[in-house]
């Protein structure tokens, strides 16, 4: 958009880097996840959202149901062949600075089920930023992944990854 072209033309001087830091800080500290619960990892995701582990401390409490208001998609659970096109559609319908956390072994690599029914890894259809091992991973693992993602977002500054 306008400011990216401006940022390239001005090059990396004091203006764009501080602006980049500010934008990165803004985006990083309020990453709104999309409520994309599929299977067992979704239950652990709910645990992360409730008082016990409390993802609200990291600015990600507002689990949005619609992709229009979400910045990050947490693929929590196993993605079946029937669900794959729908997952891709929802990823497409998310507004632009968007990231993906692949939660659990089933989302990252097909996990325990290496058979015809599952998509062996969600990175076959959507670009993934952070993978979380575990079946299901502990809520603290999801928080750890969120913190890793926040560092990445802050480092990206004005122009996100794609």
């Amino acid at each position: 958009m306008g400011v990216e072209a401006l940022a390239e033309s001005l090059g990396q001087n004091v203006l764009t880097t501080t602006l980049g830091k500010l934008i990165g800080w803004g985006r990083g500290n309020s990453v709104w996840p999309l409520q994309f619960g599929l299977a067992c990892c979704a239950i652990e995701m709910i645990h992360t959202a409730t008082a016990g582990v409390d993802i609200a401390r990291f600015g990600s409490e507002a689990m949005r149901a619609s992709p229009r208001q979400a910045d990050m998609m947490i693929v929590s659970g196993r993605v079946s062949q029937k669900m794959a096109p729908i997952l891709r559609t929802i990823y497409d319908q998310m507004p632009e600075p968007k990231w993906v956390i692949s939660m659990g072994a089933c989302a990252s690599t097909g996990g325990v089920f290496n058979n015809y029914a599952l998509l062996q890894g969600v990175d076959k259809i959507v670009p993934v930023d952070v993978y979380i091992p575990g079946c299901p991973p502990r809520p603290e693992d999801l928080l750890n992944a969120l913190m890793i993602l926040q560092e990445r977002i802050k480092a990206q500054g004005i122009t996100p990854r794609q």
Partner: protein, 118 residues
Amino acid sequence: MLESYVPVLIFVLIVLGLIGALVTLSFVLGPTKPHKRKLAPYESGIIPDTPAMRRLSVRFYLTAMLFIIFDVEAVFFYPWAVLLKQLGWFGLIEMLVFIGILLVALAHIWRKGGLDWE
């Protein structure tokens, strides 16, 4: 004579400034890559093939109208509440008459079944 309205002016300016800044900043800073699938209507993951625009039932219109009537009624309470002291008994009785008329209307609608759905 207009000095007493300056705070209102400042308030309006602040509001417009804030909203203006938020909208332009997010419009300018947010990268936009529109493409066909992103602009398709969101229906929990399925791209709908049936036309969304269908003739809707009259009940929606009825409920909307009822809401507007009683919402506007509530707006009239604000000035009355501010001037309650000066108006004294006359203001109170006047407002009670006003509410009474609308209560009669509400009772009529309720009895005619305008409030419940089917």
